[in-house]
Amino acid sequence: DAGITQSPRHKVTETGTPVTLRCHQTENHRYMYWYRQDPGHGLRLIHYSYGVKDTDKGEVSDGYSVSRSKTEDFLLTLESATSSQTSVYFCAIIAGENYNEQFFGPGTRLTVL
């Protein structure tokens, strides 16, 4: 258990509304990640952070923004949710001496109607 929590765990929203998902970690990890998981695609990287206020885009970043104002929290915002953003969202951190082991939160299931 890497001390990662995600909130909310489930959310249903309507097209065009803003949505913010929160990832919280308790072990002072430097790297944090947001992925989405869809059938047939595995996990795809949305954004990641390598420190407070240091973020970068991943493979599927369009329509998403992130913020990291303190080490323990990494927020993912959908500025104007679309049905194509219906997915399961996972937060992860990196640990291990070579920074090559990821540990995941329990996920947030988001449905955009």
Partner: protein
């Protein structure tokens, strides 16, 4: 086009059988990880391999990293219903702490 391909996509076997699943790429990876994911949960790390040709064992699971560090396999001996799940491979091609995932192999072990 996926950077990492996994095969088979689906596998259904009887308890006690052996199986192998594969993770392949045309790219070289500095390290490769295997995860197992159960419904409604996040992926759980099983193993990390970093050296070409490396073999690691985790009880009945044997992981191998290809000599050229472009592919990996997971072999399960005497599968049990508790092995049921989605098996994902992931790798860091650069290294850059930026990982790519395969689409997964969904394994079902029937009692």
């Amino acid at each position: 086009t996926q950077l990492l391909e996994q095969s088979p996509q689906f596998l259904s076997i009887q308890e006690g059988e052996n199986l192998t699943v594969y993770c392949n790429s045309s790219s070289v990876f500095s390290s490769l990880q295997w995860y197992r994911q159960e419904p409604g949960e996040g992926p759980v790390l099983l193993v990390t391999v970093v050296t070409g040709g490396e073999v690691k064992k985790l009880k009945r699971l044997t992981f191998q990293f290809g000599d050229a560090r472009k592919d990996s396999s997971l072999h399960i001996t005497a599968a049990q219903p508790g092995d049921t799940g989605l098996y994902l491979c992931a790798g860091d091609p650069t290294p850059s702490q930026n990982f790519v995932f395969g689409p997964g192999t969904r394994l079902s072990v029937l009692p």
